[in-house]
Each structure stands twice: as C-alpha cells, then as structure tokens.
Amino acid sequence: MLAENDTFSFERDLARQGFVLVAGVDEAGRGPLAGPVVAASVILPPDCAYEWFKDSKKLTPKVREKLYGELREINAMIGVGIVSAAKIDQINILQASLLAMQRATHLLPLRPNYLLVDGKFSVPITIPQQALIKGETRSASIAAASIIAKVTRDELMQKLHLKFPVYNFHKHKGYPTVMHRRAIRDHGPCEIHRKTFKGVREYISREL
C-alpha cells in the first residue's frame, strides 16, 4: 500500500543506484488547435515535501499556480522548452513534443543523470531514462514538471489572448472547445493556430 502511494520511490531507488540528479519530464499542449507545446524538466531537492506535487490535471488552476511558486521557492532545478505552432506545423506534433522535452532538459542548470518521462516517450537525448505511463501520479518529479509545463503554457496563452482577443485563448487555452471552434469558423485561423490540425486546416483559404 505504502509503496503504491509513495511518489518519490523511483527517485529514491535511483539515488541509491547512484543517479543523484533525477529529472521528471512532462509536456503540456499536444491536443490544442493553437499555441505552442511546452515541456518542463524538473529536478526536485531530495528533502522537499514531494507529496505536494500531484497530477497537474487534478489540481485547480489556483493550487497549480501556488505550487508553481513553491517549486521556485524551494530551488527546484527547472528547465522549460517551448516549440511554436509554426514549428509544430513544420515538423509534426510528436516530433515537436520530443523537441520541447529535449530543450527543457538541456536548459536545466545541471545535466541530470537520469530522466523519468511521462507517458511512453523516450526523449532523444543520451541520458538513461524510463518512461512511466501515468507518470504524473507515480513520480513527484514528473508531477512537478507537469505543473511547470501547464502553468507556463497557460500564462503564455493568456498573453496571446491580448494579441488575438477574438478567440478567447485565456479561457480555453487553445483547446478545441465549442467556443474556440466557433471563433475559428467565424474569424478564420490566426498566426498561432496549428494549420496542419484537423479543425483548423479546413478554414485556411486556398490563396495562402
């Protein structure tokens, strides 16, 4: 029972094997029709209150933001990788997600010895790693990465709302809600829409 709920057991086991710097890696924004994909790589301090960091999807935006502040306060090492909608169209979303994860990991202040990666991803980088399905619920480091990625992306979408107000990006963050689909239908896509995605590409005029 205890082992099931212990979200720091992977990290602890790895430390025992000599992998002292273990980074959790996760990404946000693979599904939206607009905006970037954002990935984060996080190394938690070994003595932190790891049980705070839980699946970002199960936290309210307010709690997420609080934990985001907390992660900065406890000096967790953080790397963030961002890949734009234009780049996503040029390469494809899978490659873009992996690129964001690679960038995030490269941007950590120290190179980790091991990665715990959410999902079934393997980050194209020469660092030993393990993919954990539902990683956000099994590793506090991945959960922390998911919080950083989600909050960073949400903030970006809020800023992008000011630039492209007709779409209400601050509300749906680019996800395919009814409101968002209606706005695309009525106003056509803007420069941060993913032109290769179903739901956007149908509205691109032929002349472009």
């Binding site: 040029q90 390469i91 490659q95 992996l98 690129l99 690679q102 079934k120 194209p124």
Partner: protein, 125 residues
C-alpha cells in the same frame, strides 16, 4: 537470411541510393544501424530529412513491397529516426519516411518506385 537474399537487398539499396543521388538528394547514411534497429538510407531532400526503407523484390516474389512495411516496422523505424534526429541535434528539422520499391527483373532493367511520406512518425514502446 541467406546470402542470396542479403545480396539482393544490398543491390536494391545501392540502386535506390544512386537513384536518389541522381534526383538531387544528399546521401547522409547507408545502413544506419543502432541498438534499436536499422534504417536503409538517410538522405536530405531540399532541407527535409528523409528516412528511406528499401524493399527489394525479384519478379518471383508475391505481394506489393509497400505492404511489407508493417505497423511494427513503422514504429521501429520511427524509433531509429528519432534517435538519429536527437543524436544529430536535428529534431527541429522537417522529416519524412519514404519507401522505395526495387523490382529486380530478369532480362530487364530494375524498376524503382518511390512512395513519399509513406507513413507518419509513430510512437509506442
């Protein structure tokens, strides 16, 4: 794999390579082999990286060579391609998968067919 089949495959790869070279591609790798698998040819076609699977058949073989790239094979090729892109710091470059079918015919010159974008980068463990 018998020696004969292996040399048939090698011949097909060489033919495909020469064809791609002539059509303006830059050849980056032939038989790129790593722990998780192998890619027959890696070329650059006007800025796009192309991972090429070559399927060689002689006229006695049945079935379309294109059918031979199974979903499992696609996943494996994707893995190797991602490894290559990561290793060479080229994840930000557009990439695609082509399949080249080489049909070796007795008494006639070999027939080459290329399917561009034969499948998408896919994922799975």
């Amino acid at each position: 794999m018998t020696k004969k089949r292996k040399s048939l495959g090698k011949m097909g790869e060489d033919l495909a390579r020469e064809h791609l070279k002539k059509s303006g591609c830059l050849i980056l790798e032939q038989n790129y082999r790593v722990r998780m698998g192998e890619i027959d040819l890696i070329v650059e076609d006007s800025g796009t990286l192309v991972f090429v699977e070559v399927k060689t058949r002689c006229d006695s073989t049945y079935g379309s060579p294109f059918d031979a790239v199974t979903p499992g094979k696609q996943r494996q090729l994707s893995k190797v391609a991602l490894f290559y892109l990561g290793r060479h710091d080229m994840l930000d470059r557009p990439a695609r998968f082509d399949v080249v079918s080489v049909q070796v015919r007795t008494g006639a010159s070999p027939k080459l067919e290329i399917i561009k974008n034969a499948f998408e980068l896919c994922y799975g463990i």
